[in-house]
């Protein structure tokens, strides 16, 4: 019999983290404008739910701390406290502390209790300064027209709780005692009576089955919702009944009717001990306690609906990432198998079969697209961390910086999002630290005191582009060049474009900051940033203008798993050109057929540099009878790849070539064709870049050679 304690605890950690995230989001938003009752309620509910769940797991330290925060949030709700910037800052620090407590628990470390004491003291001071209920009501919730809005609970109310815990309660890692202890933190358990009538004798007794039922009277300044929340985790297996004490007598008959056989007597005896006896059913009297219409909702056993900590997300399903990956792998194999089937059908020259396999391939394509989209998440999920980061860091550095986010709904593969967080974080920190000048400098330059950082994302021809821009002082070209020369990264007389110079900051150990603050100099250099991006098969470019600012632009492929490609043949070898890079294909005019590497084509008035794949790859094959040109784009430029045959569009799974080939240029991976052969996938930017470099080296070698032969050596 396994206990699901670990699993339940895991769920608690995950859900609490979600709630904390929400809380932080709201706190950052409210700083800017006025707060709404919904926001204050959401803050309260977040802390309240965490406290309740922590109570179930007997995490007393968490309960103690969150309880105080909850008190403060309650005052915010009822208007006796106003949410100013200081309080928001305090609450953010409390949020951080709760997070650190939970993290420590998850990692089974010692809890940083001491860190919370000053926070508790501050909270106390705040709470003492304002007696409860003294709000001007402006920020407090109004009429309790939705079941979630609690009554301000100024007076104590009495309740009957009939707790019929399910038989698997103990097996599921829970204990009736913890619920009761929790109730004690919310108020007073006036009287409690256990009922064990269902406990069997002899061999029928199972030591891990729960037979305990509890009937109790509770008194506290709470509302029904709060009581319901306490039993959130057991609502499904257990029958929980909560009603105001005054209405209890009328309810007992119903409860009796629902009881287990043999329980009736024990129940009656228990209720008697609580001072209750069933009443003849008649219209319930108006409750004696000062309750509002909210309590009507409690008459039925159904819990109020509005208590979901995460409102609209019920349309999402949590899926284990591994399962999705398996599915995607299978679909990848399906794509290959589909292509093979289609190929065989074509070879057998069976038209109906060819059509049938094409239909299948179409369906496979739709499934593939759908499955891959399951892995896509919005980049807003990482962008969301940044408002907090920008706020904290700019406060720390005494700079005034605002963050503007756009394109947060741009989607990319989940695996990329995980790896993108750190590099982005570093670039943003860099922008704040070194990019944006302090207010004095900005004023001197005629800029507004407040600096701006932009985070932007969009899709562009099969890639995701992410931009981090700032309106700071821009990259200092001369300084970078000087440093690079000093470090022997470039020759003193090298002719480098601005882009090349800016890219030097990605070299390991490079930092031109006069003083490395403990922020950017954390051991995560720009070189690690570049590596991380390259590992995602991406690239990063930098635009910068002195005084105007800089933009870091990261380009990533949309997906890592499957490629839409264009097959080309060169001699015996087959290559795949990523379809998103292909602009058009044309036949190579016979007049242009040459063997060497530097020729061009006049493409409707444009000069198109040509790259002969066979020559470049030294494949050694003689050019075929006809040659074709695949016009490809990379960045803003175009080039023409000269190949023998064009084999058409082909969609297939990318098989990485493995770490042995990690330095391989121009090839980004391989794939298996329907024939079973392996075809290599071209990395167009890398191919062009490498070819360009080879060209320039060739020229310099040739000119060297020329010099020497001229000098007769």
């Amino acid at each position: 019999m396994t206990l699901d304690m670990e699993l339940a605890l895991q769920t608690f950690f995950e859900e609490s983290n979600d709630l904390l995230g929400e809380m932080e989001q709201i706190l950052l938003e409210v700083e800017a404008e006025t707060t709404t009752p919904e926001q204050l309620n959401a803050l309260f509910r977040a802390m309240h739910t965490i406290k309740g769940s922590a109570g179930l797991f007997a995490l007393d330290d968490v309960v103690r701390f969150t309880h105080q925060v909850e008190n403060a949030l309650d005052r915010l709700r009822d208007g006796s406290l106003r949410l100013d910037e200081d309080l928001a800052g305090l609450l953010l620090r409390c949020h951080d502390h709760v997070k650190s407590l939970l993290d420590a628990l998850a990692a089974k470390d010692t809890l940083p209790i001491a860190a919370g004491l000053p926070l508790l003291a501050e909270l106390s001071a705040r709470l003492d300064a304002v007696a409860p209920g003294h709000g001007d009501g402006a920020a407090g919730p109004t009429v309790a027209s939705d079941a979630a809005a609690p009554a301000s609970g100024q007076t104590a109310s009495s309740w009957l709780l009939s707790l019929r815990f399910g038989p698997d309660l103990l097996r599921n890692g829970m204990d009736p005692a913890s619920f009761i202890r929790y109730l004690h933190t919310m108020g007073r358990v006036v009287a409690i009576a256990p009922v064990t009538a269902t406990l069997p004798a002899g061999a029928d007794f199972n030591p891990e089955t729960n037979y305990l039922r509890l009937e109790l009277v509770f008194e506290g300044t709470v509302d029904a919702g709060a009581l319901w929340d306490a039993f959130e985790f057991v609502r499904e297996d257990s029958r929980i009944h909560i009603c105001p004490l005054a209405e209890a007598p009328a309810q007992l008959a119903g409860l009796l009717a629902e009881a287990e056989p043999g329980e009736a007597e024990a129940l009656l005896a228990a209720w008697l001990r609580l001072g209750l006896s069933p009443q003849a059913a008649h219209a319930p009297e108006p409750a004696a306690a000062p309750v509002t219409a909210v309590h009507d909702a409690v008459k039925t056993a159904a819990p109020p609906e509005a208590r979901q900590p995460r409102p609209p997300e019920s349309k999402f399903i949590k899926v284990e990432a591994g399962k999705l990956d398996k599915l995607i792998n299978l679909i990848g194999e399906l794509v290959i198998a589909g292509a093979a089937a289609n190929l065989m059908a074509r070879r057998a020259d069976q038209t109906p079969l060819v059509e049938a396999t094409l239909t299948i391939s179409n369906l496979i394509e739709q499934i593939r697209a759908g499955t891959l989209s399951m892995r896509m998440i919005q980049i807003g999920e990482i962008f969301n961390r940044f408002p907090r980061v920008v706020r904290d860091v700019s406060h720390e550095l005494g700079k005034d910086i605002q963050l503007t986010i756009s394109g947060a709904d741009t989607e990319l593969d989940k695996s990329m999002v995980d790896k993108l967080g750190d590099p982005l974080m570093h670039i943003v920190r860099n922008a704040i630290d070194h990019g944006i000048e302090d207010s004095a400098q900005r004023r001197a330059a005629g800029k507004p005191d407040e600096g701006t950082i932009w985070l932007n994302a969009y899709h562009e021809s099969g890639s995701v582009v992410i931009e981090v821009a700032d309106d700071g002082a821009g990259l200092r070209r001369e300084r970078i060049l000087a440093k690079a020369i000093e470090r022997n990264l470039v020759a003193a007389d090298a002719a480098l474009s601005d882009q090349d110079i800016f890219k030097l900051i990605f070299e390991p150990g490079f930092s031109t900051a006069e003083h490395v603050t403990n922020l950017s100099g954390r051991g995560v250099g720009m070189d690690v940033v570049r590596k991380s991006i390259e590992q995602l098969r991406g690239s990063v470019e930098i635009d910068s203008e002195p005084q105007l600012g800089s933009t870091f632009r990261i380009r990533l492929p949309l997906t890592l798993a499957i490629i839409d490609g264009f097959l080309v043949q060169n001699g015996d070898a087959t290559f795949v050109v990523p379809l998103e890079a292909v602009i058009e294909c044309i036949e190579l005019p016979p007049a242009q057929r040459q063997d060497n590497g530097h020729d061009c084509l006049n493409l409707r008035g444009e000069i198109l540099p040509l790259l002969h794949l066979s020559t470049f790859f030294e494949l050694g094959a003689a050019p075929g009878k006809r040659q074709n040109v695949v016009v490809v784009r990379f960045g803003d430029s175009k080039a023409g790849l000269v190949v023998d045959e064009l084999l058409g569009e082909y969609q297939t799974v990318i098989k990485p070539l493995g770490s042995l080939f990690r330095h391989l240029k121009a090839i980004s991976g391989s794939t298996i064709l329907g024939t079973g052969e392996v075809a290599l996938i071209l990395d167009i930017p890398s191919l062009i870049h490498y070819a360009t470099r080879k060209e320039s080296e060739r020229y310099s070698l040739e000119s060297e050679w020329g010099k020497r032969s001229r000098s007769g050596g």
Partner: protein, 94 residues
């Protein structure tokens, strides 16, 4: 001669099955049994249920049985859940 059984350490859901066996064995001896609870360091509802069951079994099978010397953990749970109506616990030690 009465048989004394001392329960020590944790008595919770994790030990419930084992405890159940121990108690079954003790009952099978058909000797008067005193169960000393003073050394229990942790006590939950599963254990409480076991004791309730044990006591009832004692009566049903006619084996004289006494639960005694409850330590703080046992007392606390009994008080918390009002279990004094279900469990008869003596103060003196075994």
């Amino acid at each position: 001669m009465s048989h004394c059984l001392s329960l020590s350490g944790e008595a919770t859901i994790f030990q419930a099955a084992e405890l159940h066996h121990t108690l079954l064995d003790a009952l099978a001896q058909a000797q008067p049994l005193r169960v000393d609870l003073s050394a229990i360091t942790e006590f939950d509802c599963a254990a409480a249920q076991l004791l309730i069951w044990l006591q009832r079994e004692g009566r049903r099978l006619g084996v004289p049985l006494a639960l005694c010397a409850p330590g703080a953990p046992v007392r606390e749970l009994i008080a918390l859940l009002g279990l004094d109506t279900e469990l008869d616990v003596e103060e003196e030690r075994a």
